[in-house]
Symmetry: C2
Subunit: 163 residues, 2 copies
Amino acid sequence: MAGDKLQLGNLDNMLGVELRIAQILADRLFASSPQLHMAPGHYTVLSLIELNPGINQSRLAQSMFLDRSSMVPILDQLEKKGWIERKRPLTDRRSYALHLTRVGRAALKLADQEVQGLEERIATEMGHNNRASLLTLIKQFQTALLKIQSSDRNQETANDNKH
Amino acid sequence: MAGDKLQLGNLDNMLGVELRIAQILADRLFASSPQLHMAPGHYTVLSLIELNPGINQSRLAQSMFLDRSSMVPILDQLEKKGWIERKRPLTDRRSYALHLTRVGRAALKLADQEVQGLEERIATEMGHNNRASLLTLIKQFQTALLKIQSSDRNQETANDNKH
DNA sequence: CTCAAACTGTTTGATATCCAACATAATTGG
DNA sequence: CCAATTATGTTGGATATCAAACAGTTTGAG
């Protein structure tokens, strides 16, 4: 029957699994917000360019933990929409200095309001204190993952040196 | 300079943004775990099939919040590796009943140990209490998102009925 | 100064995912 | 019982992402 409950075993006690589901649901809510005709990643990119005008593509990618090649199609789209500009700086002709256009700034301003509204609804639904705790713990989780990863990397290189 | 700190504005106070980063880092750690030659999603699929032998593809997809068409290539790979079987039930010849093979069960058992080890390292790094709180809050967050989404959907259909 | 190394953006090829459309099979309303 | 609807798995087209390879540019060691 459709009503049969699935056995989940230990899965719903695993951070990775629950985190992934949360991510999917959050993206889905973002995507279905009618005023936000913009992907979550695009919103982050616009914000980062506004906050750091002239930033280049590699730094932008790095700050979002994306590969720099993944940034190319994102910026292509934003450029096609007329929201950003790529300018060649005279001092380093390999890179592009990224800037918002006037239209881009306006789009971001609207999106900011929508996102703020979503965050507010979530905070109301789950409790403002809980929301704040969650944010703090997610950051501790990030820090833990980075530490483990870097200690793994050191272990590897130590083994490499052994021969 | 490379050392210049990026301005983040309000971004690092947004659940969506921080959640995405946590997800990327968690996937990266999982992927770089040498014993785990298996994607995070594949691990979840194997576990769910073991816990719910005979489950069909749509239910499996639904339980992971994926589209049922996304399950097809995942199961193709697991089948090619000889870890799962698709059996046509006599009672419903549209669907497949999914089962682990003996080899699949062995692979899952190894992965279970590896995943358990990772969770343990994370718990040690961030504190066992913090890990438990994080898990609880992520689930509250999921519940909040589902509530908001369903109330949005009701709002839409109410508007549809108005005309 | 010079040339090897590193950096920047891009392209290509691979995988993951969604959505819409489809074929087959099962269910249901009349 | 039959026609319409629903359910299941699949395919095809779109976007997102990574990794590796590349070309142009800059930097740095000797």
